[in-house]
Symmetry: C2
């Protein structure tokens, strides 16, 4: 499929399952970005997730985000229980404007349902010339270092950095040892997971994927990853008056829905500190990237950008079974 | 020694080796904090480091920091080549004022010599009711994930969170696999280091501590720690017009001095997002801490605070040999 076809399919299906037009358009874009960048798990596979969220009334399909300015350099968007994407998009122009005016600004996206990666958001800000950090809790699935019972979510941290003439430097990773979906894939395949991925319900290390899903995952990087996971909870939970991962899971009440709650995005304008020295200083950042790539190490976003270049010229491959499953969402055999 | 005696000793020695009075006072405070919190490596042992920095002209002993406001929510302090502590202290009131006025603010501390931990700084901001993040590069000693040659510094990340009625939640960790001092201790003791700490000069994994010091350390947490190390370089280097770790090491030119360059501190006022809801929201953060401690896991700052409580009542123990070495800095056998 071409990316235009992916976009049309995603929009039509999202509209078909009952999502309001504005939401359908921006949610479709994140799925197009996932397919385009070779992240199949964040591509149109997520149509199934979005459809379930609407059907189970986990998400408000026609929520109207409300953009507020709680302080001069802060933006807060109440997403009204809708998907996070539209709330982010509606607050983004004001976040960018404030970052440029004050040098730094932050945006809270509150009361939204999350199922997408954070990298499209920090990449969009970096494309505007800003450095950006984004964090969000999820559901309480991850044990703190030194413990065995879930407290944290998979709590991703994303960062974007502007590179004039290049795609931005972007990373986005879970502070859990692995993505939860990775454990789910092991469970489906009947494969054992490494012993350092998690614990069973009794707090014992286990290689049984199902037992980890029922017990607790570990953080990456021991006590350091655990500290970062706590930071994410605090910054995108209590700091912005929104749910921690434990509160999100409690709110879900066993429905198995996507995490509900908030997200914090910090944007910094390099011109704020550097004034006319921006170009010279950004060039020094390029020397850092060269020192990494020059020894054969990859930049975090490199694989995604390579996939993007391929997708833009060659389109993407959607597995037949997935396509059929998606078509079922909007009435079976109809050709889309 | 009581902490008052540690303070008097540190001030007298710092003055004795030629540091200006204002610098001596604030630098002494970070050493008192290190001794008090059981962090001997950041205690008065650092008097030896500071004295060498002055003697080798790595630091400007009477630098007068210059506090500027490059943008409405930004503070930039040019430390004039002095130790970082005075520059931070002189900019701190304005950073706090801006964070409260705009909801978020950031401070660049430029052109300073770093030898201290970052936790005293984020703790001081958290005690003012702010959430704070601090990052700084160091010298290029650490290889990126997928590489074996040094690019990054040990690049610490520190975070502070206000807890009304408690000491703040604080962490401060290197994004390298271990502290460089830990490898140095192994070298002195003739002990092998674990194979995942670093590489020798030819890029081979090694258990020889001296070879790692001469080669490259690894980041913690694989590609995730490596991504964070890059973020620290960018935020506290090019973003604020200051040196990367590679540039700092080049500037040192083999003198073996402390890292030179910048530091970025971000401060966020919870009241900015929460208004009158601050108390209720900070109480939700306490539930997170209870969920961690309730299962026997430690909060990152817990050990430090326990040591602090002991030191405040019982004083601290300074090894005789260290005390003698410190006394030698200011004229041998004189009783202090």
């Amino acid at each position: 499929m071409t990316l235009a076809e992916v976009r049309a399919l995603a929009r039509r299906v999202l509209r078909g399952v009952g999502l309001d037009r504005m939401h359908a358009e921006v949610v479709a874009e994140t799925m197009v970005a996932g397919e385009r960048d070779g992240c199949a798990s964040h591509g149109i596979y997520r149509l199934l997730v979005a459809a379930r969220s609407v059907a189970a009334k986990i998400v408000v399909p026609d929520a109207v985000p409300d953009v507020k300015e709680p302080a001069a350099a802060l933006v807060a968007v109440d997403g009204g229980g809708g998907f996070a994407q539209l709330a982010f998009e509606m607050g983004k122009p004001l976040l960018i404007e404030k970052a440029r005016r004050f040098g730094i600004a932050a945006m809270a996206v509150n009361n939204v349902v999350h199922f997408a990666a954070l990298w499209p958001e920090v990449e969009a800000l970096a494309e505007q010339g800003l450095a950006a950090i984004a964090v969000t809790p999820s559901h309480a699935w991850v044990a703190p270092a030194g413990g065995t019972r879930p407290v944290f979510g998979t709590n991703p941290i994303a960062f974007g950095w502007p590179r004039p003439g290049h795609e931005p430097f972007v990373f986005d990773f879970a502070t859990s040892a692995v993505a939860r979906g990775e454990i789910e894939l092991h469970r489906r395949a009947g494969r054992a997971v490494p012993e350092d991925w998690g614990y069973d319900r009794t707090g014992q290390p286990t290689t049984d994927a199902a037992a980890v899903l029922d017990g607790a995952m570990r953080t990456f990087g021991g006590h350091k990853g655990s500290a970062l996971a706590a930071m994410v909870e605090l910054l995108a939970g209590p700091l912005i008056g929104d749910l921690t991962s434990a509160e999100s899971l409690a709110r879900d009440a066993g429905r198995g829905g996507s995490p509900i709650g908030g997200e914090l995005i910090i944007a910094i304008d390099p011109a704020g500190f550097l004034g006319a020295g921006v170009a010279a200083s950004l060039a020094r950042a390029e020397a850092l990237f060269e020192a990494i790539e020059g020894q054969g190490a990859r930049l975090p976003s490199q694989r995604r950008y390579a996939a993007r270049a391929r997708s833009l010229s060659e389109g993407v491959v959607v597995p037949t079974a997935l396509h059929a499953e998606i078509m079922d969402l909007v009435g079976g055999s109809e050709r889309i």
